[in-house]
């Protein structure tokens, strides 16, 4: 249980708010590269409470600037991408990628007015099929090359959803290992039963005997010992990390994935499920195989949560806590210590920036950033490729090419044309 004030401090993301300032120290994915592939594309976005437009100009450069023209407040979603920047469709004011106005066609030729006009403009970079933005103070740190973004010979998919709740309750779910045996275990068995599907041996119901959390260089490593296991098992000995501040790394020998939570505003989160399917030994993934981008549904046609897949179950749990979970009425127990540890880490890292230091996971050394390998158990739940084996029960079931991916990973021949 937290006070109302401490809950607010934890969940607010606007510029000038403590957590908003901390989050602005990191690169965040804001779109899939395929969404802005074509020159002249403009995509309207809201990130960390700021209305923005992401565009690709005619020189093939990406830009990210405030949505409103400084002149009369028109939305730049309908602007004209030029050779170098974005021109307002209303009176032709041209902004470069920093948001600086560089042309006002109807002002006197020698006017210096444009020099005093600037809208927000942020640095953007592409990596691993995603577009990342940095909205903090200069100089920007390195865009972290986490292993999944640069790993070779894997098949990537990117799922997404706009989730109507605050990002912190989504992250806290990732510091709560025991929910797995219930929400994705017993509850899933209940869903199977309701749907008249065979329950078989659903291995995710295994009972947790022990959970642990260790801080490491890039975040927190989660560990678990399940019934029938010891600390020798990979679930404990290796575990998998929360990459500070807003990634979960999860997977097994057959698929590695990130769940990335980017605050849109206080009550909405842009969620990415970024998966790398690992082929069987000796299998080569076709060169330039596309990264598919797909939406993961939250609700069905009746407005009810889609609860027959793991990520749908998670979304139901996150959203039903309310747009911003009211932590002044929560009742945490000992199994929630990871959640408390994460909250404290957020506060501690905030203090670092107040002291003029870089917060955790700020990478400034390009050499350190060549390839950052993260720990992750491969033998999950002592079931080997448990999660990749149930890819049809994950968000990846919405990937239009899932069966083809499975075929590729087994070393089969591609049968369709994605």
């Amino acid at each position: 249980m937290l006070s109302k004030e401490q809950n607010e401090a934890l969940t607010q993301v606007d510029s000038g708010k403590p957590m908003g300032e901390l989050l602005r120290r990191y690169w965040h994915p804001i779109a899939a590269s395929t969404e802005v592939e074509k020159k002249g594309t403009i995509k309207k976005l809201k990130i960390l409470g700021e209305d923005l437009v992401l565009y690709r100009d005619k020189s093939n450069n990406l830009g990210l600037v405030a949505d409103r023209c400084a002149h009369r407040g028109v939305s730049l979603e309908y602007a004209i991408p030029e050779e170098c920047g974005l021109r307002c469709q209303y009176h032709g004011w041209l902004y470069d990628k920093t948001g600086q106005c560089i042309d006002q066609p109807n002002e006197p030729e020698d006017s210096t007015f444009k020099n005093r006009i600037k809208i927000s403009g942020y640095e953007v970079k592409e990596l691993g099929g995603l577009v990342f933005a940095y909205m903090g103070p200069s100089p920007a740190p390195e865009l972290p090359k986490w292993d999944l973004f640069v790993q070779e010979n894997v098949v990537r998919t990117i799922g997404y959803a706009v989730i109507p709740c605050n990002w912190v309750q989504i992250m806290e779910n990732s510091l709560d290992p025991t929910h797995l045996e219930w929400l994705h275990g017993h509850y899933f068995e209940h869903i199977f039963e309701q749907q008249g599907r065979p329950q078989d041996e659903w291995p995710i119901t295994k009972h947790h005997l022990k959970i642990g959390f260790d801080e490491f260089e890039y975040g927190i490593i989660k560990r678990r010992v399940l019934e029938g296991q010891t600390e020798e098992n990979e679930d404990w000995a290796v575990g998998h990390p929360i990459v500070f501040p807003n990634y979960l790394r999860v997977g097994d020998s057959g698929a590695h994935s990130f769940q990335i939570r980017v605050p849109i505003d206080e009550t909405h989160t842009l969620h990415f499920w970024y998966t790398c399917f690992v082929p069987a030994e000796g299998v080569k993934v076709p060169e330039n195989y596309p990264i598919t981008f797909y939406e993961c549904p939250i609700y069905d046609e009746n407005g009810k949560f889609v609860t027959d897949y793991i990520d749908g179950q998670d979304m139901m749990a996150w959203i039903t806590q309310g747009p911003i979970a009211d932590r002044s009425i929560e009742r945490l127990g000992t199994s929630d210590r990871g959640i408390i540890m994460y909250r404290q880490m957020l506060k501690r890292e905030l203090k670092k920036i107040e002291n003029g230091e870089d917060p955790k996971c700020t990478i400034r050394d390009p050499q350190q950033n060549e390839y950052i390998e993260l720990p992750q158990e491969e033998d999950k739940f002592s079931e080997g490729g448990l999660l990749s084996g149930v890819a049809i029960h994950w968000n990846t079931r919405y990937a239009p090419n899932l069966s083809e991916i499975i075929e590729i990973c087994k070393g089969g021949v591609i049968s369709s044309n994605v």
Binding site: E5, Q6, P18, D326, I329, L332, T334, I340, L350
Partner: protein, 91 residues
Amino acid sequence: MCETLKESLFDARETPCPLNQEVMKMAENKVDEIKLKYCPNCGESLLKPNSLLNEYWISQDTAYFCWCGECSWRGEIIEIIRVTAPELATS
């Protein structure tokens, strides 16, 4: 009682929807407020937004996880209801 809880109770009495009834039920079980207020190390208020004072429960015990935003002291304080001693060795 904190403001949020008061508001929730008020809302619950006005509108007897299942969610609000649940809030009322939780409120009835709530016999305390966050009792701890100050950092045991430096005396600064732990209720400030830059600190963390997280109440939770260890079986029957109420525990307070504290992190002071001023001095960075971190620790847990457990409210004592009954003083017990460990069982003495028999051999």
